[in-house]
Symmetry: C2
Subunit: 284 residues, 2 copies
């Protein structure tokens, strides 16, 4: 596996792949790899000849009071893990190369970005769509794989690709979970031992909601939200950023629960650690 740090290098290598008829799968990441990331990399390997993983903690998608400066990192460890799952190129650019003096472009998606994480993190998705547009042009992928844990992000990226006609297929990969049910996230490494039960309340609440929906076909959005809220707020460490039932495509609030309804949660543990989870409500 080769590690490169500049856009010029990665673009030349990607062009070389394309010019010899090889297809490219991209997995954009912020590093500190866990089994969720590795599953995305394997998926990219199943769908393309060459796998490029980008590792960039993108400053413009963090708010001023967020965890940019503390975001966990260990390039050596990440390189080893990526190599083990067959990644061909690890692209780890530095901030100055990505956003040189005079950088002045923003890619903005309206609508999909206004609620949920976009409501809690103003400007976050502008940062995401801007950096992903850059990464697409730098790595020239045929397919790009994103995790469904960041469900709104995935919807936003699909909209970006559709609207700007990027010639790239976007693949969503199901959430990878710990045996405990906890959705894997680099931010789980912030959790102290005594915060683990609170963290597990997200997946437990989802399981309760799905069970209730299985038992009562005409369950209402209000009932779902109450079930989830009760499970989560049983833990005093938990603060709710949002608990919503939304259409899986439009991300608009559902009035009734149906097969397109997604339950989406963002919960802060001890005001420090923001965790996401989601699931369709009816079905697996």
């Amino acid at each position: 596996m080769k590690v490169v740090s500049t856009a010029v290098e990665i673009q030349a290598l990607a062009r070389g792949y394309r010019d010899t008829g090889l297809t490219i799968g991209l997995v954009p990441t912020m590093g500190w790899f866990h089994q969720g990331h590795l599953a995305l990399m394997k998926e990219a390997g199943n769908r393309a000849d060459k796998v490029i993983v980008s590792l960039f903690v993108n400053p413009i998608q963090f708010g001023p009071d967020e965890d940019l400066d503390n975001y966990p990192h260990d390039l050596e460890r990440d390189c080893k893990l990526a190599e083990e799952v067959g990644v061909d190129l690890l692209y780890a650019p530095n901030k100055e190369f990505m956003y040189p003096d005079g950088f002045s472009t923003t890619v903005h998606i309206a609508g999909l970005t206004s609620g949920l994480c976009g409501g809690d993190r103003p400007g976050h998705f502008d940062g995401v769509t801007t950096v992903v547009s850059k990464l697409f042009n730098q790595t020239l992928p045929h397919v790009a794989v994103f995790g469904e844990k960041d469900f709104q992000q995935l919807a936003v990226i699909r909209q970006l690709v559709r609207d700007l006609d990027f010639p790239i297929e976007i693949i969503g990969h199901p959430i990878v979970r710990e045996k405990s049910g906890l959705a894997m996230s680099s931010r789980n490494s912030y959790l102290k031992k005594d915060e683990m039960n609170a963290a597990l309340s997200l997946s437990k609440a989802i399981a309760c909601a799905k069970r209730a929906a299985g038992e009562k076909q005409d369950i209402s959005v209000q009932e779902i939200r109450k079930i989830v809220t009760d499970v989560i707020l049983a833990h005093p460490e938990c603060g709710i950023d949002y608990i919503e039932v939304v259409d899986k495509t439009t991300l608009q609030n559902c009035e009734v629960v149906n097969s397109d309804s997604m339950l989406v949660l963002a919960v802060k543990i001890n005001k420090r650690i923001r965790l996401l989870d989601n699931s369709i409500i009816q079905g697996n």
Copy 2:
């Protein structure tokens, strides 16, 4: 020459060129071709194996009181002219394909877009950078050629390509002029006979400014602007949108006139027809 109207078709044809090792030159246009457009097409032909010309009167770069509905058009005539200069593909998408229901992405460039035409036409450059991003992804060019008459647009496109890492070389082509000196523009077709002298005042004013700068090495910005203003306002049909001396790269107002100084003008004839012209001040 083949004429296509959908992104799927043009992307497949462009991909076909690339897969057989052919390079692509793009000329984005709004149609109603004149010798200026044809010069850009010839330039693209000099620089690439295949030339794609897009023809799309982009609604999102027009303000509510502008000439979108009256913009001159004649596809048959344009096809004939493009074919004569060796264009391979004319891509004329319709509005509904470019901006389907639910379209919600904006590519915005700060800084460069705030003054000059951006000041007079709010949102104009967002429309330009958004459509050009789409056209780049649809036609996959190696090089794209833009006219220097729209000097600010060219600077904005260069910034877009640099910031988002589009793997595309941007070529600026010098203004093509009528024998009279008038910078060629599709909007010249709006000019009535008795408005021609007023329209010619732009290029005449530029010539006067350059002559004065040749005669007085330390000419000031104020002197240049006065010379130009006087020539133009000698015609009662003329209203000045702006007359500025700016750095050719940053588009910031110059404090002194030097070899990087551009004189840029936007003038409205009888409040109907907005004409642009520009030139470096020192040199040819």
